[in-house]
Structure formats: structure tokens, C-alpha cells
């Protein structure tokens, strides 16, 4: 009886009443949706900047009026970008560093995770994990000071040691040679712990009876790793690997901007697309070139992610991103 009443009231109610649930849920999605619209989707319209010769309009120097009065130049910004040495350097650096990060970022954490799993005392393994994971939570600014404590030209530990020994002092922040290694080392130092924990979680999930069976059949530890552990990790390794390949045009701005302490002498080995986009815009003030480089990075990255995702889908349907 009562139920019937409710039902009839709902039928006779207004559109607002009938869609109440959807409207309430919409109101919950609204803050993030509005944020995305303003800070992510609206700027996508700014892509046109890459095809314009952005000039300040002296009569009305607001951004919109500048944009409207700037001339369309087609692909000229891109052509100009590739005539400079910068384009070659930043694309080379971004891709090469990422390739090294991806390869070492698989081998080292997997090796460490396998070793960690063999530690018999669990609280010791926990301690290792806690220590290794720590750098992941620090900012690149802090890491740059950690490194500076060792390399600082005047007071750093290494130059001080050289000075004490009467040797010639290496000026670390102006010598290009060691920087590819320093960058790779800094990146591994900060991120290996995180990835190791990730792989360790996957290894702990492997059924222990598989190892026991293998051991009873006379498999050595190496064979157990080779035929039990690695095959179980294959999916997660390939997915992380391919997802990283998808991000090959993106560099970690903080790493390349802060760790070399913004030293101009090191640009040829530390300049990546992200730092170029920032410097062309904020330092040189070249909006058109900066936009062109940024757009190129986004489009290439987009293609790479789509490609990577297609491959992941073939390996494991559930693990694909979309």
C-alpha cells in the first residue's frame, strides 16, 4: 500500500525528482570535471600557438588579442626548430636517457627483488626495503643538494679530497663527460627502490609450492629463478616496459633541471624536451618555438602510448590501459 503510494508519487514527480540520483552524482563529479575542463581541456585549444608567429599587439596587448592578430605561419615554427642544433640535442638526450632508464630500470629492480626474496630473515629484508624506498619520497631539489654535498666545486667531498691529496680538482658542474652517468645514477638512485618493491610484491604472490616442487625435482636456485620466478614476472615486466616506452618522449623535468643545478655549460648533455620547452618560454620568451616543441612532444607521446597499449593488449587484455 505504502509502496504503491511512493511509486505513484515518483511517476507524477517532476523531471528534477526523477533524475535526482544522476544529478547528485553529477554534482559529485563536478569539481574534478570543472578542473579538468579549465586546466586540461581549455589549454588544448592553445595548440594553435604552435602554428602562429606570436607577436604582441601594441594596441591591445592582452593574450587573446595578441593571438588573433598574430599571423598564421603553418609549419614554419617546426621548420625553424629543426634548423637549430637544440632540436637534435634535446630529442637525442630525451630518447637516449629514457632508453637507458628503461633497460636498467627493469634489470636492476628485478635482480634486487629476486635477491630480497631469498633473504631468510624477513625483518632484515623489510629493513632493506625501507631504506631503498626512502629516496622515492624526496623531491629533485633535495636530491640536487645531496649530490651537491659530494660534488660542490668549493666544499664538496670529492673536490676536497682531491685538494687534500694535492691532485687537480675536477670541476663537476662544468665538465660534461661524467654527466650522462651522474644523471642515470641519480635517476636509478631515486626510483629503483620503488620498482623493486613493486616487483617484490609480484614475486611474493607466486605460489611457494611451485618452488618446493622444483626443488624436489632437483632444480638449483638458478633454475628456479629461470623457470619459475621470471616466467611469473613476465607479464608485469612487459607491461611496465611497454608503458615506459610509451612515455619515451617525456623526461622528468626535475631531474634534468635541478640535478645539474641549471648549469649552462652542461646543456648539451642535460637539455631534454621538457627543459627546452620551459627555457624557450620562460627564459628566452619565445612562445611560438616553445609551443611547437611542446606540441611535437605531446603528439609523438600520444602516438607512442597508443602503440604501446595495442601491444600490451595483445600480451594481456586485462592489463592494457584502455
Amino acid at each position: 500500500m505504502e509502496k504503491k503510494q511512493v511509486h505513484s508519487r515518483r511517476l507524477g514527480s517532476s523531471w528534477l525528482e526523477r533524475n535526482k540520483k544522476t544529478l547528485v552524482l553529477l554534482s559529485m563529479a563536478a569539481p574534478v570535471a570543472i578542473w579538468l575542463l579549465l586546466l586540461r581541456y581549455l589549454p588544448m585549444g592553445g595548440i594553435v600557438l604552435a602554428f602562429k608567429d606570436y607577436k604582441v599587439n601594441p594596441r591591445n596587448p592582452s593574450f587573446i588579442s595578441n593571438l588573433i592578430h598574430s599571423k598564421w605561419v603553418g609549419l614554419k615554427n617546426f621548420a625553424f626548430l629543426f634548423k637549430t642544433n637544440d632540436a637534435w640535442i634535446m630529442f637525442r638526450n630525451t630518447i637516449c636517457y629514457n632508453v637507458v632508464f628503461i633497460v636498467l630500470g627493469v634489470i636492476i629492480p628485478v635482480a634486487l627483488a629476486i635477491m630480497m626474496n631469498e633473504v631468510t630473515k624477513k625483518y632484515v629484508a623489510k629493513t632493506y626495503q625501507t631504506l631503498m624506498f626512502f629516496p622515492y619520497f624526496l623531491s629533485w631539489v633535495v636530491v640536487s643538494y645531496f649530490l651537491n654535498a659530494f660534488l660542490d666545486a668549493q666544499y664538496g667531498m670529492l673536490p676536497a679530497a682531491q685538494r687534500a691529496a694535492g691532485e687537480a680538482v675536477t670541476s663537476w658542474y662544468t665538465t660534461k663527460g661524467p654527466w650522462p652517468f651522474i644523471i642515470v645514477f641519480a635517476n636509478l638512485w631515486k626510483n629503483v627502490g620503488y620498482t623493486t618493491v613493486l616487483y617484490l610484491a609480484a614475486i611474493t604472490g607466486i605460489d611457494a609450492t611451485l618452488y618446493e616442487a622444483a626443488a624436489i625435482d632437483g632444480a638449483t636456485k638458478w633454475e628456479q629463478v629461470r623457470y619459475v620466478t621470471l616466467p611469473h614476472l613476465r607479464t608485469i615486466i612487459s607491461i611496465l616496459f611497454i608503458m615506459n616506452v610509451g612515455k619515451i618522449f617525456n623526461a622528468d623535468f626535475g631531474l634534468f633541471y635541478n640535478v645539474p643545478m641549471q648549469n649552462g655549460a652542461l646543456f648539451s648533455v642535460t637539455q631534454v624536451i621538457d627543459t627546452y620547452v620551459y627555457r624557450a618560454f620562460m627564459v628566452t620568451g619565445d612562445i611560438s618555438l616553445s609551443s611547437a616543441a611542446g606540441l611535437l612532444q605531446n603528439v609523438l607521446g600520444f602516438i607512442c602510448i597508443l602503440g604501446a597499449n595495442t601491444i600490451v593488449k595483445k600480451i594481456d587484455e586485462d592489463s592494457s590501459l584502455f
Binding site: 559529485m28 592553445g46 666544499y155 618493491v197 643545478m261
Partner: protein
């Protein structure tokens, strides 16, 4: 007895395990030693640094740099306050927004679920780039030289939405939502009184990730705080010191001869490291407690990252 034998059967030889311990211990130490080094430098006396450089065994110890930082440089207090303010406000807002959006995506009966899912996801794989985003923030939204500029651009992270939704899915059965709705619970009530408490580890994970992101923030300050530098959080202050050791004096309003005289007295080398210590110590103290939440979050969100 059998358990013991099993363990021995499957354990590596003691020699191999020793090698493993050496490698793992070496890497673990390598991860923590720079922090210890910086801590030592912060407590080294300026004379020792001038004489033998940064060293694990300084000639003499001193808390001068800490005292100087807090007595003579009010900007450090202000920046500390800025960092805390940004972290607290940013974490609360971003976690709240993320929870609401994820809850909507988790509801299979929501009519526009697919659309909103794609709406947030697409921004993970494509964007307008730095220049247009900067222009929208400064010209349209007025995010420049103020606190919102240090908070708003970092409020949403689509990756966190995916992780939070995965937490909801794995810990809250849909029948519970249905039951709550039948009992007359509104959507907001259901989310905050029923879903969030059950998915507490998930909410905690996201809140921690957000707090770390805000605490470690320097990029937004680099972009949006150009003149009103008193708003700089600690990280940005530290970054400014990279190429300008005199920056702290300038901030204290000292110029000309007075600045040079003061700069001579300032323990500038250990002072920089004092700032690093001030930033890292809160993380290091909270770290043992939040580590397990982050690990739990990793397990849920790892593959979909």
C-alpha cells in the same frame, strides 16, 4: 621440524646469501648515506667547512646555522608556514575531490560513467603543453602571485582517480550501496559514512600521495611566483639558493654594505643544508608509518599505472 627442513631445502647456500646481503646492504646504505651526510654538514661549524670542506668527520660541531636560520631569516619561518599551509589545504581538497569523482566512476548505475571515465583518462595521454596551460592559469584564472597558484594546478591527478576507484571496487561490495540507498541514505552520506570508512586504506594511500606531492612542490612556485616571493614554500626557497647563495640576505631586506657585512657572518654553507634537513626530517619521521600504505597502494595501482 618439517617446516625447518623445507626452509633449508629451498634456501640459497649460506655463501650466496652472504653475497646477497652485501649487495643489498650496500645499496640500502647508498640510499640513506646522502641524507646522513647532509645532516652532518648542517651541524658542522662554518670554520670546519671552510677549512676541510664538507666532511663526514668535521673538525668541530655547531648549531649556529640552525640558530641563525631561525633568528635572522624570518623568510624561513614564513616558507615553512607556506609549505605546511599548502600541504594541508591541498591534501584535504585533492583527496576530497578525488574520492567524489572516483565514487561516481565506481557506480555502475551512473548514466554518464563512461563519459567521465574517458574525460579524466584522456588527460593522462594528451595535453595542451606548458605554454597554453600557463596562459590559461595566469590570464584567465588569476593563478599568479597567490596561494591558489600553488595549490589549484596540482589538485587533480587522473592516476590517483584510477587507484582510488580500484580500491573502492575491491573493498566495497555494490550490494552495500544498494542497501544504503534503500534505507534512505543520500549519495553524499553513502560516500562519506559508508564507502570511505570501508575503503580507509585506499583513502589514506591517496591522501599520503597527495600530501607528498604538495610538500615536495617547487615547480608551481617556479612558474607562478615571480614577484611575491614571500609565498615561496621551502622547496622553492631551496631551489632559489642553488645559484644564488646571497638570496637569503636579499629576502631579509638587506642591501649594500650591510648585506656584505652580514653575509660574511652568515654560515651560508651549513645554512643551505639546514634547509634540506628542515624539508626532509618531516618526511623521514612520518615515513616508517606511511610506508605500508604506499606499498598497499602500489599493489592495487601498479599495473594500471
Amino acid at each position: 621440524m618439517t617446516r625447518k627442513r623445507k626452509l633449508r631445502l629451498n634456501a640459497v647456500s649460506p655463501g650466496t646469501e652472504a653475497v646477497i646481503h652485501v649487495i643489498l646492504a650496500a645499496f640500502s646504505l647508498c640510499c640513506i648515506i646522502p641524507f646522513i651526510f647532509v645532516l652532518i654538514i648542517a651541524f658542522s661549524s662554518e670554520e670546519s667547512i671552510r677549512a676541510i670542506g664538507y666532511s663526514f668527520t668535521p673538525l668541530s660541531w655547531s648549531t649556529e646555522a640552525f640558530r641563525y636560520a631561525f633568528d635572522k631569516l624570518p623568510q624561513i619561518w614564513r616558507s615553512y608556514f607556506n609549505s605546511i599551509l599548502i600541504t594541508v589545504v591541498g591534501t584535504v581538497l585533492s583527496t576530497l575531490m578525488c574520492a567524489m569523482y572516483s565514487y561516481v566512476l565506481y557506480r555502475p548505475d551512473f548514466r554518464f560513467r563512461k563519459f567521465f571515465n574517458f574525460f579524466s583518462f584522456f588527460t593522462m595521454i594528451f595535453g595542451g603543453g606548458l605554454v597554453p596551460t600557463y596562459i590559461v592559469c595566469t590570464q584567465l584564472l588569476g593563478l599568479q602571485e597567490n596561494y591558489p597558484a600553488l595549490i589549484v594546478p596540482l589538485l587533480v591527478n587522473p592516476f590517483n582517480i584510477i587507484v582510488m576507484r580500484a580500491f573502492f571496487k575491491s573493498s566495497v561490495p555494490l550490494e552495500l550501496i544498494e542497501a544504503a540507498t534503500i534505507d534512505g541514505s543520500g549519495e553524499y552520506n553513502t560516500l562519506f559514512r559508508i564507502v570511505a570508512p570501508i575503503a580507509k586504506p585506499g583513502v589514506a594511500t591517496i591522501a599520503l600521495l597527495n600530501a607528498l606531492a604538495f610538500w615536495n612542490e617547487w615547480y608551481l612556485s617556479l612558474l607562478y611566483i615571480k614577484r611575491n616571493k614571500v609565498l615561496q614554500p621551502l622547496q622553492a626557497l631551496l631551489m632559489e639558493l642553488q645559484n644564488n647563495v646571497q638570496y637569503l640576505n636579499q629576502m631579509a631586506g638587506q642591501l649594500g654594505a650591510a648585506a656584505i657585512a652580514e653575509a660574511a657572518k652568515m654560515p651560508s654553507q651549513s645554512l643551505r643544508m639546514v634547509l634540506v634537513v628542515l624539508i626532509v626530517v618531516p618526511i623521514a619521521c612520518a615515513y616508517p608509518f606511511f610506508q605500508r600504505y604506499i606499498v598497499a597502494g602500489l599493489a592495487v595501482g601498479s599495473v594500471k599505472g
